[in-house]
């Protein structure tokens, strides 16, 4: 059977083999997103609300004017970093869902280190804070990778449980050791001096530098995954760990390295949250960006470049939450319901890969 097909290889075969997988990776998540939104529309209808009004409000609040874009883009940065915390380990076949923990501890580390270097030149202050946050996040998620490699502990569960530990640890420390006595209602670390607050980019709207660094991190991650031999080795190990071992590839180093790198990204998200938004570490750090990042990474098929538009879209959803609450009299959590439904549909769509005839080269060859 195989010899007959090989002899009549059509010239478009190579082209199809190359582009169909990419079309598949783009169209299936897109269709899943639309299906998820359709199912969510049914949910709205049962509440007696108009889905059309709802989506129109999302557009209005998230994407219509300079002000709404500002609203959206200021929320993109943590989603970019949190998405990378899922996408980087995913290259090794690991599903890490505890980015929230690394964000929280990264933010705390940044706040504490910032206070420790008050008076130093801001450049040094920023570097120390960012490096500390990245290191903290990297250690936290890297530990998940280490447990996975050394002890075979399931990384999904370990990372989730460690996120709870991280949150408890942060609460404990800001209510105790690092508490600013001035913070009465909301236990916080002491506020960072103005010099150590990350400012807005000079682009006319108020969007802080975290956005630019998040985009940069995505681009660097893409280069690492797609253009370097390290990323190639990671793909081999992620696809078939036995083949990687037979090739003598350092599977353990790759696993720990990529999880640590993902954790470092999440730690940076914490740094930008503290330094650009909150000004100190407190309970506001536990905002769920780490969990939304999971949805971002899955919708982006763990492609770091695709994370940028997907994170922007979801940031827009989250930015519209307030307006939807006021105008449609829907609770704040409605957006979370929508994200949840989209995520479930997205996970269901995973079963479609390789099963749809239109993404199979032979389908097109027969037509030609």
């Amino acid at each position: 059977m195989s010899d007959t097909t090989a002899t009549q290889t059509p010239p478009m075969g190579a082209l199809l083999a190359r582009w169909l997988p990419r079309a598949e990776a783009l169209l299936i998540p897109l269709a899943a997103l639309l299906c998820g939104l359709a199912v969510f529309s049914l949910f709205l209808l049962t509440l007696g609300k108009s889905p059309i009004d709802f989506y129109a409000l999302i557009y209005k609040a998230g994407f219509s004017t300079a002000f709404s874009w500002q609203n959206t883009l200021s929320r993109v940065a943590p989603l970019l970093f949190a998405g990378l915390c899922v996408a980087l380990p995913a290259r090794l076949g690991l599903v890490v869902i505890g980015g929230e923990g690394a964000i929280v501890l990264g933010g705390l580390a940044a706040a504490v280190l910032g206070l420790a270097v008050v008076g130093a030149p801001p450049v040094i202050g920023f570097v120390v804070m960012a490096a500390g946050a990245a290191l903290m996040g990297g250690l936290w998620i890297g530990a998940v990778g280490w447990l996975r490699f050394k002890r075979g502990v399931n990384e999904t569960i370990a990372s989730l449980l460690m996120a709870y530990i991280a949150i408890a640890l942060m609460n404990h420390l800001v209510e105790g050791l690092f508490r600013d006595p001035q913070s009465l209602n909301k236990p916080s670390t002491a506020p960072l001096p103005e010099a150590l607050r990350v400012g807005d980019m000079p682009i006319g709207i108020d969007v802080h530098w975290g956005f630019a660094f998040g985009v940069l991190a995505c681009v660097i991650s893409w280069v690492l995954m797609d253009r370097t031999t390290i990323g190639f080795a990671a793909r081999i190990a992620g696809d078939n760990v036995r083949a990687a071992q037979v090739q003598g590839l350092p599977v353990g180093k790759l696993i720990i390295g990529f999880t640590a790198l993902g954790g470092a990204c999440a730690g940076l998200a914490g740094f930008f949250e503290v330094s650009a938004i909150h000004g100190s570490a407190n309970g506001s750090l536990i905002s769920g960006y780490g969990y939304t990042g999971i949805l971002v990474a899955f919708l982006a098929r763990h492609n770091p470049l695709a994370i940028i538009p997907v994170a922007t879209l979801l940031a827009g959803f989250e930015a519209s939450s307030g307006l939807i609450q006021r105008r449609m009299d829907l609770p704040d959590a409605t957006i979370l319901v929508m994200e949840g439904i989209v995520f479930v549909v997205l996970l269901l769509s995973e079963t479609l890969y390789g099963r749809l005839a239109i993404f199979n080269p032979t389908f097109w060859e027969k037509k030609a």
């Binding site: 195989s2 190579a14 696809d239 003598g248």
Partner: protein, 510 residues
């Protein structure tokens, strides 16, 4: 509910009448008529892709024939699905085991029943199973997880399962591919006895002429979907059958063995590791492979060959002793493998040597992507080089693929093996470690792969060949050792090897 583990109430005959099966434009089966008389052992021969599987799948109801019909026990039967087939008394034993490894034999038998009870009264069921086994010509321990049974025992259990389910017509799909010759003879002997006793009729797919001559009454041969011959085995010689299978006398080109045996390349001394169960140990006291020789390691599946391979690939930690390559300690890291020019061809290459979601080109690049020609590590991946390498290897090793960008999983087994061989044999190679390289491949692919391995040997590569196929070991090796219970039990030169003697050591009886 009283399920009598019905001993079949006698063999039934099955006849495929002018059966045709088309998939789109492709005719997999072209008016094939085949008659298995009640109580006979019928062999079905043919190369891979000849239509054997399609035929039995049509009989079992996995496929529905496009044209033609089926007679079961003299009556026309329409088999909608495998459940239907079972009701008619048709059963099938697959090439790969379908037992649940974690369950015991008894549990496996019980859950295979369509009417398996919701609550199991084990005392009663065990008594029934015992009564059932008493009527059988052979026994298998039913009290332990099937993962702990040897391959031969598993295959016997598969056959018992069919009898337990009341099958009166049995299809065996290459039942001996995972067995030793002795195990194969035993299992087939039992099957033969059941036929002679008039309990079952058998249709066996096989590649092995020896089994046909020894056990079958009749034989039918398929080639490219057509029946090319059929008749009593006693009327046909091996040459006749080969003629029907191949359409022409297959070329048997003996590759010259050049005498190039050189220095020792691989040597193991007192190398110990625990086995997969963790209960026993693998202990290789001394094993050497020299340049320009093929050392064949024969042995029954599950006697430590897999573990030995894992020790050599660095997947299994040594508890003692050492592995040296060219007199340097060898831990199978990438740097060591690259510097000492060690290459691997693990068994089931798609599972053990390929990344199935990556492309053919990428899979072909595993040996070269991370270092330059000078051996220095590289940071940037060179897509151009990966593609050029792929095109060259695909042409050189005749890998049939739509495009270098196709996922490697889309290739046929033979082509996956060719691709892996292309990757591992390109460049300077001093040591090649191979495990079951031809398992499940068709005639042409087997010849090509064995040719490449011999060619490497003649170029001075030291080859360690671990194989469960004794014919393959005998054909390729210069020296043969037998592995039994994790140890080297026997060594002989291939030229003077006595198959019977090897067999006794394989069976652990020496």
């Amino acid at each position: 509910m009283s399920h009598e583990p019905a001993l079949s109430t006698g063999a039934i005959g099955v006849e495929a009448v002018s059966m045709t099966k088309r998939f789109g434009d492709f005719t997999a089966l072209d008016e094939v008529t085949l008659n298995v008389r009640p109580g006979t052992f019928h062999a079905l021969l043919g190369e891979n892709g000849a239509g054997k599987s399609t035929l039995v799948k049509c009989i079992m109801g996995f496929y529905h024939a496009t044209e033609g019909g089926l007679l079961v026990d003299g009556h026309e039967a329409f088999v909608r699905d495998p459940v239907d087939a079972q009701k008619l008394g048709l059963g099938m034993v697959y090439q790969h085991f379908t037992l649940v490894p974690a369950l015991t034999g008894a549990e496996n038998l019980l859950i295979s029943r369509a009417d398996a009870p919701g609550v199991i009264n084990w005392r009663a069921e065990n008594a029934r199973l015992e009564a059932f086994l008493d009527k059988m010509p052979f026994r298998v321990p039913l009290d332990r997880p099937t993962s702990r049974l040897a391959a031969g025992e598993k295959q016997k259990l598969e056959i018992l399962k069919q009898l337990y389910l009341g099958s009166r017509f049995l299809i065996l799909d290459e039942p001996t591919s995972v067995l030793t010759p002795a195990e194969a003879d035993e299992v087939l002997g039992h099957v033969r006895a059941l036929c002679e006793a008039g309990e079952i009729s058998v249709l066996m797919i096989t590649h092995k002429f020896r089994e046909v001559t020894q056990f079958a009454d009749d034989v039918s041969v398929l080639r490219r979907g057509k029946l090319t011959g059929s008749g009593p085995v006693s009327d046909l010689s091996h040459d006749d059958m080969a003629q029907m299978m191949m359409g022409h006398q297959p070329e048997r080109k003996e590759i010259n063995r050049t005498q190039t045996k050189g220095d020792t390349v691989l040597s193991l001394r007192g190398a110990r590791a625990s086995d997969r169960s963790g209960l026993k140990s693998i202990d290789i006291e001394a094993l050497d492979v020299a340049a320009g020789e093929i050392l064949g390691i024969a042995g029954v599946s599950g006697n430590g060959q897999t573990e030995l391979m894992e020790m050599l690939t660095g997947q299994r930690r040594l508890l003692g002793g050492e592995i040296r390559v060219k007199d340097q300690p060898y831990g199978a890291s990438r740097a060591e493998a690259t510097a000492l020019k060690v290459r691997y061809l693990p068994e089931e290459p798609l599972q053990n040597a390929c990344a199935s979601r990556m492309s053919v080109a990428e899979n072909l690049a595993f040996r070269l992507f991370d270092h330059g020609a000078d051996g220095r590590p590289k940071l940037w991946k060179n897509t151009r080089q990966i593609l050029d390498n792929a095109k060259a290897r695909i042409a050189e090793f005749n890998v049939k693929t739509t495009s270098p960008h196709s996922p490697i999983a889309a290739l046929s087994g033979g082509n996956v093996q060719r691709a892996v061989l292309a990757r591992e044999l390109t460049g300077d190679v001093d040591l090649l470690i191979v495990a079951n390289p031809c398992f499940g491949l068709d005639f042409a692919a087997v010849a090509a792969i064995r040719g490449r391995i011999l060619e490497a040997r003649n170029k001075g590569v030291a080859v360690l060949l671990i194989s469960e196929d004794l014919d393959e070991i005998l054909e390729l090796s210069d020296r043969i050792v037998v592995m039994s219970e994790g140890r080297i039990a026997f060594e002989t030169a291939a030229a003077t090897a006595d198959t019977a003697e090897i067999g006794t050591y394989m069976a652990g009886h020496a």
